[in-house]
Symmetry: C2
Subunit: 354 residues, 2 copies
Amino acid sequence: MVDKNIRIKDIAKLAGVSVGTVDRVLHNRGRVSPEALKKVTEVMEQIDYKPNLIARTLGSNKNYRIAALLPDPKQDPYWAQSNLGITQAQTEWAQYGIQVELFLFDLLDKNSFQKMAHEVYLAKPDGILIAPIFYHEALPIFELFRETDIPYVLFNTNIPEASPLSFIGQNLYQSGRVGAELLYFGQHQPGTLAVLHIDEDIHDSVHLLEKEKGFREYFKDKGKINFSIIDFILNPKDPSFQKQLEELLEDPALRGIFVSTSKGTSVTASLLEKHGKKDIRLVGYDILDENLRYLKSGIIDFLINQNPKRQASLGISHLVNHLMFKKGTPGTDLFPLEVITQQNVDSYLGSGIH
Amino acid sequence: MVDKNIRIKDIAKLAGVSVGTVDRVLHNRGRVSPEALKKVTEVMEQIDYKPNLIARTLGSNKNYRIAALLPDPKQDPYWAQSNLGITQAQTEWAQYGIQVELFLFDLLDKNSFQKMAHEVYLAKPDGILIAPIFYHEALPIFELFRETDIPYVLFNTNIPEASPLSFIGQNLYQSGRVGAELLYFGQHQPGTLAVLHIDEDIHDSVHLLEKEKGFREYFKDKGKINFSIIDFILNPKDPSFQKQLEELLEDPALRGIFVSTSKGTSVTASLLEKHGKKDIRLVGYDILDENLRYLKSGIIDFLINQNPKRQASLGISHLVNHLMFKKGTPGTDLFPLEVITQQNVDSYLGSGIH
DNA sequence: TTGAAAGCGCTAACAA
DNA sequence: TTGTTAGCGCTTTCAA
């Protein structure tokens, strides 16, 4: 009533041109005389024109195909969550002509990543969501994508050189600091703190070392502390894996363990449980079913939630916003480092929107 | 391409009627013959019709007025945050013909609440967002709202008897349990734990007592513990307020304090700082500027984030979804009980979307 | 009770 | 380089 929203039509009238011309200026599709361009831009600057995105979407009755490249959800519950997020976004956007095609690769096989990335390229989608967990193999892929001008969004792992449309994930360095904080909090007895990187492959090493760096620098900043910090990179497939871990647990000075992967968290927890070591503090990652059990039983003290589901679903949304609504997306979307405890975990399991 | 979405037109064709009839059935606007009704419903049951909400919104070119009833943001930084969330939602939806009118009342004055609630009623908006912090005064208001069939959404404080369109907030009982958990965590020395309800009025008593109940039951569930729990209801306007607090701090056995209000948190922190009591653990509420400083300096150990900004903005969105998109909204939307620490607080300050 | 048709704001094809 | 116009899927008015 008060102030009817300004329409393209109004701008056209004010500038003395047709809606077609305004539209062309709006989307700089060219084929506009300098005079017309000038007049329209002048009007636009005076009026704070906000396009009606709803009408825009309906008008340009387009279908978009989005390719999602990520590890096989069957291999790892963490990636199963990511996959869930994609499925969720898919059903949400399906009615607006957005199709999401999955391209899954083997979490442990760089070649498979390369192969699937190539298939994404061949599929020529309108947008790409990608978890570039293999740094070196990913770089040339981005070259390809850029050549074809297909917008791509990174999630989970950041590769700034990729200059993506946007990155969705967490500040891993800070994540390590949070881990350190939680491990240190209220600990008065001197002793040993351990950092465990448990993974079947070291592909994520950058990922993990970033966390470790944050962890260590937290203590460096603290100045003099009572703890010695040791770290391990362990492969659960390694025959000596179990033994190495058990040796660690033997250490009577061991006060706490920070595990940098979600899978490793439950593995460590199960050992801690077996050995009845309830007094060793354990901080790990993610609200996976396996971890949930140990959190509830008190073996795990804190989880840092990476929210893989929401990372993925937001990734799709970013692409949709870009493709459909031509909306600008933030270059990086850093998720909060959610601290999960026995008492607040249920409040996170509820809606899943937040 | 593969499966074009089904349109009303398609249903009409299949049922051998016109789109007008289908629309009337869809929204049971009546004036449809039993035969037509039958045919259309039959087709509808066969096909999983999902209306295009975008087209619907554009088609019914309506404007909606939403009234927001909440305490004056100038009185309290917590409510300033809520107000921010409303402003945010307002600008987001303005272009689609949604207008939000603010109705502010005095946080300390029940009469002012009643008066403004009545003004909301007289304004006859299309939807209402309300923070019903005065329980007894709110009940008759809801009667009024229901009479006029205006949908209303509660936030911050739940009143189940109000049977609102939806409630947005937190599980306060569980919130108290989280507070207890954080206060207890890693505490080995026996001593005293204090629960502080600091507020200028006791209007929120239900609110606060719910938190206290959770706090106490946490320890009850724990069984034998080393702590005695004491609690206070304090009014900062009371001349003896300062003295009462200082007396509490004198207690050498005091190990930790749980403050149930966001404002009270900073008040307590400032006293703790003044007395140089860094060893007393402090758990409070919300990422307000005042609290932020004390969190960073280590006086406050944990904050439980109630996310007032997002509560409010989501409240508006719920109403919009209901009014504009005729989308179903969840009856209650319980926010996660976010644990904020020195190390993760920045990750929360960033985007604000999450 | 029904169907036809105009219109929501924008896009995009087309003719001029 | 321009303006005109026919949609997009749905709502809503109006005449039949």
